[in-house]
Symmetry: C2
Subunit: 199 residues, 2 copies
Amino acid sequence: MSDPLSIDPTAQDILFREARTANTFTDEPVSDEQMRAIYDLVKWAPTAMNTQPLRVVLVRSPEARERLVAHMAEGNKAKTATAPLVAVLAADGDFHEHLPTVFPHRPGARDDLHGAPEARARMAAFNGAIQVGYFIIGVRAAGLAAGPMAGFDAEGVAKEFFPEGGHQVLAVVNIGKPGPDAWFPRNPRLEYDQVVTTV
Amino acid sequence: MSDPLSIDPTAQDILFREARTANTFTDEPVSDEQMRAIYDLVKWAPTAMNTQPLRVVLVRSPEARERLVAHMAEGNKAKTATAPLVAVLAADGDFHEHLPTVFPHRPGARDDLHGAPEARARMAAFNGAIQVGYFIIGVRAAGLAAGPMAGFDAEGVAKEFFPEGGHQVLAVVNIGKPGPDAWFPRNPRLEYDQVVTTV
């Protein structure tokens, strides 16, 4: 039977089938060049009204790493302290300031949203989360393992790394080459018929 | 310079660089076999606590299509009526019922979440949105174009297609081969330095 998928099996494996959430990493550094290549790939994936609310802080310095670890849940502190690179992913509620450039065919969009901070926060959270999905796929596309974590004090991390305000921290992601015993046994996925219905 | 990415350039193009949000489609049908292959690929991508809250309704029958179109924003009605296949993507707030199977190493998780419907709704919305990102990438991996839309009456669509309640409709996605004049001119993306900072 021919494969109904258009990307080759190696890419399928790298992105989905063999990629795993890593809990340990080697010492091999992750370069800015790699992070630029990841961004320049995933930036093309779509968001509603091209809002692109995702913002990324790459935590490189030991001092910044310490500030981040302080806000992580106990079970996430050690791996956040030792991963080659840690990215803080947040949604920028002031994404509308870019709309005149990134969504020029609705000229009033920025001003319409200016007075609607709650609608902006909802749009930022939703589209930012979609972009978290793209980002994780992008990290894998660079042959790296991602270790996304949800266990942290989101307000504390926001104050620490987005002191200007208006950002919701969505995820903290460890990035690097997987180390020894990097994975837990893989948890089962829901079956097609548990997820998809046809009407 | 060697490519910092590990997936081949063709896959990069299919998934990100050349893929576009389609506004018109050919008549070529999208098969259940294609949708199964897409699901069986993207199901492996990670969610927090393996929650997998995304649920998909494939709208195939003319009667169901009519019910969906009634809830779409004016500008989305025509393409929703004519796309080869339309998928309604929703987050299931009752994802916790599956946790004993999909997240067996925290046996109390289902019961802990049972009494916390607001926390569940937040987790479902966030992880469901990440899975919307994976789903769009998966449609593209099958050589198809996705046309994700946010303009619809989410409560109306939820009542229509998830009458049992507890679901948040996140997106409606047209799926098919791109037709004539399928794309608007591509909107600009934010630059790396507008999105990523290093500390």
